[in-house]
Structures are given as C-alpha cells and as structure tokens.
C-alpha cells in the first residue's frame, strides 16, 4: 500500500512538470452555464458565465438537478500522427452527458428520466438506481469527423446533488476544469486519477473486507481477544464506506445511499473506540452500552433531519465521532506508554490523525484536491497496517502459547518421572521396612523357640558331637535370621575376633600362642565366609588343644594374590593315620576341607608324626564375597 502511495507521489511530481513541457494541452476554464433538462443546451434560458472548476456548493448552494456547461475551443493545428484529440475531465459529479458540436458523444449511463428530480423520500421506487461518477475521471476521445476546423462547441450536461443532501463534499455536484489534448498527453493523468480514485479504493475495500472478516472470526472465536472482533467490524465497516467512493451504481437512491454511509460511520466509530479500549486491556461498561446507543442515536437523528439537512447533521456527528476516536487513541497510547513497541501504534495513529485533519479541511473546502485524495487513502492503509500488526501479535502469542505448552508438557513429564521415581523409592523403602519387620519377627520367633531348643540340646546332650552340631545349627540360624549374608565383615575386625578367641583358648590350655597378621587390612569378607573361617579356625584350635600335645602354636594371616591366607602351625605330635580317622569321625579335618571348598577356597593339612601339623587355608577374597 505504501508502495502505491509512493508511486502516486512520484507520478504527481512528474505530472506537475508535464504541462510546462507540453504546451498543446488546452485547459478550458471558462464556461457558460444554463440549467435545464433536455438533450441540447438550453440557450433560451438565462445563461451565466462561470469559472471552472465549478463547485455547486460554492457557486449555487442548494442547487440540484441538471446544469449545462458550454465551452468553445479551437482544433489544434496539428496532431501527432496516429493520435486522437481527447477531452479529459478530472472530476464531475454526479453524472454527465457530453455533446460535441451538437452530437452526443458520451453519457454516464441510464439516468433517471428526470435526473434533476431530488427524491422526496429515502425509499426510492423499486428498480431505481443512482449512478455517480464523482470519483471516476473521464477521458473521451473527440472523433475527428465531428471536429470543425474553426471553433468547436462543447456542451456538457451535469446532473448532480446539493451538498446539503450529501454526506461528503466530494459527492456534491460540480465540474472540474476541462482539458483538450491529444490522448497521449492525457493518458497518464487519466490513469493516475483512476488509480487514486478508483483502483486504490477498490483494492482497499477488498483488503479491508477480507482482513476484517478474518479478524472478526478470530476475535469472535477467542473471546479473550475481543479487540480483534471489533477491529474486524471496523475493517468491514470501512470497506463499506470506501465502496461508496468507487461504486458507480447502487441499487438505491442517492439520499438512501448517503444516509447509509453516514449511519455506517457511527458503527465504525463504535468498533474503533471499542477496539482501542479493549486492545489496551480496558473494558468499560459505559462504552459497551453507550456506543451502540450512540450508533442508534446517530441513525435516528439523520432520519429525523431528513435528506435535506443530512450534511449539516452529519458534520456535527463527524466532529463528535472524531473527538471520541481521538480520546480513545489517547487513552490507548497512555496505557501503552511504557511498552517498547508503543511507537508502532503511535505512528500509525498519528498518520490516521493527519489524514482525518486533511479530510476535515476538505469538507470545509480548504484543501488541495490531490492532498485530499491521498489522505483518503492513508486511513485505510493505516487500518491495514494495524491489522498486520495485530496478526503479528496474535501469531507471536500463539507461538508463545505453543512454547508454553511444550514447556508445560516437559515439566509434566519431569514431574511424572519424579513421582514415579519417588513412588518406586517409597515402594522399595516400604518393602525394606516390611522385610525388616518380618525378619525381626521371624528372628524373635526362632530365638524364642528354635534357639531355646537348640540351646537346651547344646547343654543337655551327652554327646559332644550332637552338642557341636546343635551349636552350629544355632549359629546358622542366627546368620540366616539376621540377614548377615548381605553384610560384609571387615577383615581387620574379623582378625580381631579370631585372635581373641584362639589366643585366649590356647592360653587357657597352656599352649603358647604366636599370632601375626598385617595391621588395618581394608578388605572385607563375606558374612558366610567369616563364619566358615571362624569354624575352621575353631576346629583347628580344638584339635591342637585336644590331640596335638603341642606346647606352642603360631597363626599367620596374610594376603597373597587377592586371596586371604591363614596358616596354623603347631609343634605337636602330628596327625597319625589313627588320629586322622578319629578326627574325621569327630567332625574334623574332612569338614574343615569341606568348608573351605564351599568358599571356593582350599584347606591343606600337612602333617607328619613328630613334626607337628600345618594347616594352610586359602580363601579367594572377591569370590568369597560374591558367593556369600
């Protein structure tokens, strides 16, 4: 749109120079006028000299109907080859008939039989159409055959309406200056005027209608963005108003059409004010009620005033409405004063204000035509730009919402995972607690019952073998119920326990004991390996005390190649075959070897009569931990 404007400005600049460059353009500024219908210049009635452009509102206020203009011009001496002499009329309102030397050259269309008759009511008879060419520049080729070598007589019959019955000065009767020149000289002017007055408003109407519809639906669906709906209404309303500019033929009378356009302004202002208020985030009840009420009042006053005073009433309303919109715009800008992007809307509203001021000047007849034409285009352009800005904001908000949604989903996923993890942990903890409680209960039961019975067997049995078995069963039971299978014993602690037991027992038996073990071993021993080793050591100690007859014993502990080694050596009589058999029956050497094997270890017994006994125990540390 801006490009169109820019193009228009450039063209205008170019055209400003054009007349100076081409002297052939004949500008007719003097005319003789005579009012009356018919199909020829009513020379018999009183004639009057006027200067073109002739605006009826100035030269003959209140006049409506048909007015003849007669001008004369001389055919230019030479015409460029292949060119046609043409008549260019920049502005004529509402319709015209052109006669060249008495011959009808052009008519705006099927005008009513009495074009000058002002309809007495707003409701025109069915089939009545009102035609206006106010915005349409005219370029009429003058047929060479009709041209005379001397002077030519050009009669133009203009049918128009009084300013009083028109909502806008542009649609009141009048005729601009006439230009006669070869068509090539006038084509550019014609084309630019067409663009400015017809094509651009058409494009604007289409754009606004489309955008407005889109916005209205968007705002209507999403009630939180109600400002979009009002903006949509504003656009559609504006499209309707600007349609009045370029639409040549409407299926109703001039008075009705003007009435509707003026009434539409009330609706547009309602939408515009509400849009600005809602857009700034405010919502007022008085606005919700007052604006539709004002819209109705406007319509009512226009209807009561009648077509004759339409312009006067409308002008009062224009002022009121303009003040309202300006106030709403000020309110909006004040509420956005802190925002970083306030300058966008600020600029657009300023442009709209400038356009409105120019338009006001036009209505007072104090503005150059071209400025008025540009100003009429600026307002819709501003509306379109605001619309684009809204779309951008809406899109961004949508994007933010999507991002927020994604972030939220992510958080929900994380929270879910967290909850699941917590739940799992709690379940595990619960299982552990339940297991622990159950273990304690079983332990209590076993100690109270099984433990007591085993203990009784230990101390009442006559057989030492049975006592030992019962004692071991008791140990086994303890190990199981305590869940010690999972808990490893520090090797340093285990060595302390073993040393205390072995050394005190040997000392009690009067056997000299020598214990050597590395200090502070960091390794650990599985609970079962610990118990098995304790038993092997206990058995070995018992054998030494009972059978060896030794006077001294040495125990050497150490770590070799990841294995724990324990060497028990005595200086006793050694193990004879006879003794060995006895030992095995009494749960002896074989069981020691068997226990070592259970730990994936090894228990070697070296002995010879008279040279004592050496027991070498090897337990793989890592594997014994795993197996336990």
């Amino acid at each position: 749109m801006l490009r169109v404007l820019f193009l228009g400005l450039t063209l205008w600049c170019a055209l400003a120079w054009a007349p100076a460059a081409h002297a052939e353009v004949l500008v007719l500024r003097q005319a003789t006028t005579a009012s009356g219908g018919g199909d020829r210049f009513p020379a018999e009635f009183s004639t009057r000299q006027v200067t073109l452009p002739d605006e009826w509102a100035m030269s003959r206020p209140g006049f409506a109907g048909s007015l003849w203009y007669r001008t004369e011009f001389r055919t230019p001496a030479k015409l460029p080859r292949g060119d046609v002499l043409s008549l260019y009329i920049e502005h004529v309102c509402s319709t015209l008939e052109v006669y060249l030397n008495g011959n009808l050259l052009h008519t705006s269309g099927a005008n009513p039989a009495s074009p000058g008759a002002v309809p007495s009511a707003f409701s025109a008879p069915a089939g009545t159409r009102s035609i206006h060419d106010c915005n349409h520049p005219q370029l009429l080729p003058l047929p060479t055959a009709l041209l005379k070598d001397g002077g030519n007589q050009l009669d133009i019959k203009v049918s128009g309406h009084a300013l009083a019955t028109s909502g806008s000065r542009q649609r009141a009767g009048g005729l601009s200056a006439l230009m006669v020149a070869p068509q090539s000289e006038l084509a550019a002017r014609y084309s630019m005027q067409s663009t400015l007055q017809v094509a651009a408003p058409q494009a604007m109407s289409a754009t606004l209608a489309l955008m407005g519809g889109f916005m209205f639906v968007l705002g209507f669906i999403n009630r939180r963005e109600s400002h979009l709906a009002y903006f949509g209404a504003l656009c559609v309303g504006w499209a309707g108003v600007s349609a009045r500019m370029w639409m040549r033929s409407v299926p109703t009378s001039h008075a009705s059409a003007e009435f509707f356009v003026c009434a539409l302004l009330g609706f547009i202002v309602w939408a515009a004010v509400q849009f600005l208020l809602r857009y700034s985030g405010a919502r007022f009840r008085w606005a919700d009620v007052g604006l539709p009420l004002q819209c109705a009042t406007l319509t009512l006053t226009l209807a009561l005033a009648g077509p004759g005073r339409l312009n006067a009433v409308a002008t009062v309303w224009y002022v009121i409405l303009a003040i309202e919109v300006a106030a709403a715009a000020m309110w909006y800008l004040r509420s956005q004063s802190g925002a970083r992007s306030a300058w966008v809307m600020g600029g657009l509203l300023s442009a709209a204000t400038a356009a409105a001021l120019i338009e006001a000047a036009v209505q007072w007849g104090r503005a150059p035509t071209f400025a008025a034409q540009v100003a009429e285009l600026v307002a819709p352009v501003v509306v379109v730009l605001v619309g684009l800005r809204l779309v951008q904001q809406h899109g961004r908000a949508l994007q933010h919402a999507e991002e927020g949604k994604a972030a939220l989903e992510q958080r929900v996923r994380e929270a879910t995972a967290e909850i699941e993890r917590n739940f799992r942990q709690m379940a595990e903890l619960r299982v552990e607690q339940v297991t622990e409680r159950e273990r304690k209960r079983i332990a209590g039961d076993l100690h109270d019952d099984l433990g007591a019975k085993l203990l009784t067997i230990v101390h009442t049995s006559e057989s030492e073998r049975i006592s030992t078995l019962a004692r071991e069963a008791l140990e086994e039971m303890r190990l199981s119920v305590r869940g010690l299978t999972g808990k490893a014993v520090r090797l340093a602690d285990a060595l302390g326990d073993w040393r205390a037991e072995v050394v005190s027992r040997l000392a009690q038996a009067g056997i000299e004991a020598e214990w050597s073990a590395p200090e502070d071993l960091p390794q650990t021993l599985g609970a079962r390996a610990y118990v098995q080793t304790t038993r092997i050591l206990r058995e070995a100690t018992s054998n030494i005390i009972k059978h060896s007859g030794a006077s001294s014993c040495s125990v050497t502990a150490g770590i070799a190649d990841g294995d724990f080694t324990l060497v028990v050596q005595d200086d006793g009589s050694g193990i004879s075959a006879e003794v060995e058999g006895r030992l095995d029956r009494g749960h002896g050497l074989a069981s020691m070897k068997n226990r070592a094997k259970q730990m994936q270890g090894q228990c070697l017994v070296e002995s010879s009569a008279g040279y004592g006994t050496v027991i070498r125990l090897t337990i793989p540390l890592n594997r014994s931990m795993e197996s336990s």
Binding site: T456, L474, R478, D493, L495, G496, W498, R499, A500, V503
Partner: protein, 236 residues
C-alpha cells in the same frame, strides 16, 4: 528423670582382691538352661545363695528385697526385657555386678544392656569350660569384653567426641588415653593379660580399666537419656 550416679563413683577403683560372690540372681526363662546354669554357678561359687526366676517382674521384686553380688540376666524374657532388671540393679545396688547371659550375640541386643550398666556378657551356647572361665574372671574383677563390643564402644565415644550444637550441655564423659588404648587393643583381639604386658601394667589394672570403660558407658548413656528427656520436656 532417672537418678544419676555420682560422678565420684567412676573414679573409685575396685579392690584388687577378688570379691566373693555370695548372693547371686539368676534370671532365665528356659527351665533346663536355668538348671544347667545353676549347677555351673554353684561349681564356680560353691555355697552361694541363688535366687532364680523366669520373669522380669519377679526379678525386680527380688532386687528390691535382696542384696546381690552378681546377677546373670537373660535378655529376651516372656514378660519383658532383662535390660530393665540391669537398670534397676544399677540404680538400687551399684556394687552388684550385672552380667548378661544371652543367646543373642549381636550389638543391637547387647549394647543397650551394656549401656544400662551390665559388665559384659556371656553367650549361652558356649562350651561349659568357657563359661566357667568367664565367671571366674568376673569374680576376679575382670569383666568379659569381646573385640566386637570394644569396637562398638569406641564408635560410641568417638561419635560423642565430635563437636555438636549442644556440646556445652553434654556431660563431659570421655575416655582417658589409657582407656582408649586398652579398648583399641581389645578390638584388635589382644587378651587382657597381653595388654597388661604390652602397657607394662598389672592384669588387675587392665581389668579396672575395662570396668571403668563399662561404667563410663553407663554414665554417659544415662546422662544422654536424661538430657533427651529434658529436651523433650522443654519442647512439649
């Protein structure tokens, strides 16, 4: 609040001469084992008067009525825990020696009894000779202290030694260097006579250290319990 033992009780050293156990409390719920224990005790302390019962309630009544030299107390009893009897005995007869006789060899069961004031423990399933020897040692003022209990006591006192928020309100019960030294050696598996030789001290002196350690454990635990009760009282 439990009455606290006077601190000077900690400092008083037992007589080197072995006290003779004349009156003995035997708390055990299994009849066979009780009979077996009675026989064993009578062998070690001939002519002793033995008051035996299977119930905590009765034992506490006996503690109120009779003055005991030695008490053998089982922990898991039909009407409660032997720990209560240990506590009562410690309160009413500070000179009596409580020894836990139990089937449980784990710290969770033993440590509370030791904190309540018991001087060591005897495992019931041990061979007759071993128990006999332990009883003899006890009568000579040498309470049993296993390496695992020694480790537990060390852990208890070293945790207390750590700086705490309410450090100033805690009673200053800590082990002397000598006591710690003895404890450490017991934990490593050295017997009391061996430790005596290593430290150049008599066997009796080492035994006194062990008793002292048990007493301090008891005093410290009581103070802690009292403090805890006070704290709960303040916050209630």
């Amino acid at each position: 609040m439990m009455p606290m033992n006077p601190a000077d009780n900690i400092e008083s050293h037992a007589e080197p001469a072995a006290p003779i156990m004349k009156t003995i409390l035997l708390l055990e719920d299994l009849p066979e084992i009780r009979a077996w224990l009675r026989k064993l005790v009578l062998q070690v302390f001939p002519g002793a008067t033995i008051s035996e019962t299977a119930r905590v309630h009765d034992a506490i009544e006996m503690v109120a009525a009779v003055k005991f030299d030695l008490a053998l107390i089982d922990l898991g009893l039909p009407d409660g825990s032997g720990v209560d009897v240990v506590t009562r005995l410690r309160d009413m007869q500070p000179d009596a020696q409580s020894v836990v006789v139990t089937i449980h060899d784990d710290d969770e069961h033993l440590f509370p009894a030791l904190q309540a004031g018991a001087f060591g423990y005897i495992l019931k399933e041990q061979a007759r000779e071993l128990i006999t020897e332990q009883l003899q040692r006890i009568s000579q003022g040498e309470p049993p202290l296993s390496p695992s209990i020694a480790r537990r006591v060390m852990a208890y006192f070293s945790a207390k030694a750590k700086p705490q928020v309410n450090a100033n309100s805690m009673p200053n019960v800590s082990l002397t260097d000598r006591e710690s030294e003895v404890l450490l050696r017991v934990a490593k598996g050295y017997t009391l006579p061996e430790i005596g030789v290593q430290l150049g001290l008599s066997r009796h002196t080492i035994a006194d250290y062990v008793k002292q350690i048990y007493r301090k454990l008891n005093v410290s635990s009581r103070a802690e319990a009292a403090l805890e009760a006070q704290r709960l009282g303040l916050f209630r």
